[in-house]
Amino acid sequence: MAEPHLPERQSPLEPEYNPGSHGNFEHGVDVILSETRLGSILQLAAWPGEEKRLIEVIRKVTGLALPDGAGGGVNNGARAVFGFAPGKFTVVDEAEGLAQAFAGLITPAIGTLTDLSHGRTAIRIAGPKAEWVMAKFFAIDFALPAFPLGAGRSTNHHDIFAQIQRSGADQFDIYVFRSFARSFWKALCHASEEVGYEVQ
């Protein structure tokens, strides 16, 4: 059932989204901030014991093979998946309609699918000081050995819950609740001023 073409979604960041260089950029831009505006953000959950079957469905639909282990994940540019809780995975796609691709495959025997494409906002931070800026918010270890490429983490900054995937050696994708996204974005920009940042 192909959806008819849908209009563009409104970004929650809009009035505060100011492309260009900011902060202490005269000394170099050390992080780049952007909203990735993904078409699909899904939560997939498997009943205990059904995780392997769910992972197999994810591979079939997205072509992404999840590595073993808690918080494991993988990212191929357009699509990404990572575990964020026992038996639970976030699967994203640049394109809309990923939920329909899973329709019928996540059977009641396996688990559930919840579409959060509107409810979560994806923010990317990239650059040599990405770890430094992230450490201002989250009490988790962002060093590469502790937080490997592709891996996912669930954490929070006070009231703001976040899922984070490392999508590059010095790049993180942060998923926050849409209603909090603007506040978090403002705080992220503020914290990035020290190192100089560019909004793309």
Binding site: G71, A85, K88, S154, T155, N156
Partner: protein, 97 residues
């Protein structure tokens, strides 16, 4: 204080919500034994020493954990998913307190 979530690894206590005494047994839903309900809702084992507790990793994976923690030193002796079973294998809190 750091609590090692079996899924997320060691995390700061700020990510967790305390859900109290983990030794309590909820009566069967249809039970009319008011004493048992009262004990479940109101009474707490409150030892000075090792204690079985429930914590939720509310700022992380949101799983509930069974944690054995010393209430005097705050040392955490073990953590496990609450889903795993009803009590921690070695109910130290009751034997030591």
């Amino acid at each position: 204080m750091l609590i090692t979530c079996p899924y997320c690894g060691p995390r700061d206590v700020i990510e967790f919500t305390y859900q109290g005494d983990g030794n309590r047994e909820r009566p069967q839903p249809a039970s009319q034994d008011l004493d048992a309900w009262n004990a479940y809702v109101y009474d707490r084992l409150n030892p000075a020493g090792d204690h079985n507790e429930i914590w939720q990793h509310s700022g992380g994976c949101r799983a509930h954990l069974r944690v054995v923690r010393n209430t005097i030193t705050h040392e955490i002796l073990s953590t496990a998913f609450a889903r795993g079973g009803h009590k921690s294998a070695d109910n130290k809190a009751e034997s030591r307190s």
